[in-house]
Amino acid sequence: MNVPDDLLYTRSHEWIRREGEKIRVGITDHAQAELTDVVFVELPKVGAQVEAQAAIAVVESVKAASDIYAPVKGTVVEANDALSNNPALINTDPFGEGWIFALKIDNPDDLKNLQSAQTYKDQIG
């Protein structure tokens, strides 16, 4: 299972890429493999202020709906509209084209609470 070393991770299977003052967020390769065929993505509204661990997006597979959580406090600055027409991008390119949203973060120190690639690898065994 692909777990890129340069990303941070949550226990709830989101990945986080730091891009200056903003972070980009998606779900991991492991998560997409567990969900299989993603058929619908509900995106957060750009401009929304969100708390850490708030459910702000939904990824739906054929079988089930799964909440996607804001990894830290911040403001939604981008949402991946490409997923509206092609939700399967989450399956085919989870760490790239399949990103879900970007947040402008309130406090960079909040990122210290997230997991390293190694810790996440241990989590998913």
Binding site: E34, T36, D37, V39, F40, E60, V62, K63, A64, A65
Partner: protein
């Protein structure tokens, strides 16, 4: 319940070897998918797929009074079955509610095979035993043989081709709803022409000891016909496109077959069977709620069980089964709605996370084969 408490079918090792994702279902650890639900769904619609149904229960009912007795226990008319024929039927409680939906085969003059849902094996068997008392002169014997048999469903338009690879070109499969015994590579098997997908197909039962050998033989010989292992995920999307009910979701002890729109499998001409009075009453007075099938009008989140259904702004019912249909590429589902809002063509709204999405009640089945 800890994971060690889940029962495993005789094919458990094969599923794990094939990389299936295993989930608990009806007390059993079952494969939900191997390659992916959508891929497996299309395999069954376009080629052929094989499902483990070893978790389902098998009862043998035999003895001189067996036919008459079963006719008092089940809704469909058992007496009209010839040897080798089967029928879909219901086991009801005294209130007409569904204990289980099942298939009964006549395997001999006075011998019947009942194939029942996994989660209901114990409940069904206890119910049958409790009601097998003195109603007929010759008390039939009912045996629960569930643990002795394994089974698979092989479903899809290429099933006949696959069986020719297994049995030879000149061997014919049994006719629709019929069951026949074969020997394949020294394995005695019972093959019935039925299924839960809407495609041509069979369900095959074999000795639990032969399960892995039979499974691998089908996958090996079926390669030419595109045979693939399929899980419960695809089984659910396939059956829902056909509007086949799932007990525990679309059927329950509180719902009767008339409300579920399945009166075709109830013979009210029979003078007596458990639940008959209630069904007659529902039929005479009309059901208060009906199980309808619907399609979403456009793209959106898939409908799911327990989402509320609205008509003209009023709540009229709740979804019992819902998914994205891989064949139609749109959200589909079934649910019970007030009889006044149950007509085909009625516009509905599905409430999903506080937002309402338009849908329309459609004729069953929701999917029809193009050809």
């Amino acid at each position: 319940m800890s994971s060690t408490a889940w029962k495993k079918t005789p094919l458990y090792g094969e599923h794990v070897r094939l990389g299936a994702r295993m989930v608990p279902f009806g007390g059993w650890l079952m494969p939900v998918h191997y390659s992916g639900i959508v891929d497996e769904h299309h395999s069954v619609r376009n080629a052929v797929g094989m499902f483990d149904i070893s978790h389902m229960g098998q009862f043998i009912v035999s003895g001189t009074g067996a036919c008459d007795w079963l006719d008092t226990m089940l809704t469909n008319k058992v007496a009209k079955l010839d040897v080798g024929q089967g029928q879909y039927t219901f086991l009801l409680n005294n209130n007409g509610g569904v204990i289980d939906d099942l298939i009964v085969y006549r395997t001999g003059d006075a011998e019947f095979l009942l194939v029942v849902n996994a989660a209901k094996v114990e409940e069904d068997f206890v119910w049958l035993e409790d009601h097998n008392v003195g109603q007929v002169s010759n008390l039939p014997s009912a045996k629960n043989r569930s643990a002795d048999f394994g089974g698979v469903a092989i479903q899809g338009p290429r099933v006949v081709g696959l069986f020719h690879e297994l049995l030879g070109q000149n061997v014919e499969l049994p006719a629709r709803n019929c069951i026949r015994d074969f020997v394949i590579e020294n394995m005695p098997v019972s093959v019935s022409r039925t299924g839960y997908t809407g495609e041509d197909g069979v369900e095959v039962f074999f000795r639990a000891n032969d399960a892995a050998k039979f499974w691998n033989l089908v996958l090996e010989r079926g390669k030419k016909n595109g045979a693939k292992p399929c899980g419960l995920g695809a089984r659910d999307t396939l059956r829902l496109e056909m509007c086949y009910p799932l007990n525990g979701s679309d059927l329950s002890a509180e719902r009767n077959p008339i409300e579920a729109g399945l009166g075709f499998f109830v013979d009210l001409e029979k003078r007596q069977f458990t639940g008959r009075d209630k069904l007659l009453e529902t039929k005479t007075n009309g059901a208060r709620e009906r199980l309808v099938a619907f399609k979403m009008n456009g793209k959106g989140p898939p409908p799911r069980p327990h989402y509320a259904l609205f008509s003209n702004g009023n709540r009229v019912g709740e979804i019992t089964s819902g998914t994205l249909s891989p064949s139609l590429n749109i959200g589909i589902g079934m649910g019970y709605v007030s009889a006044g809002s149950a007509k085909i063509g009625t516009p509905l709204e599905v409430e999903i996370r506080g937002q309402k999405f338009p849908a329309t009640i459609e004729k069953k089945p929701l999917y029809k084969k193009q050809s």
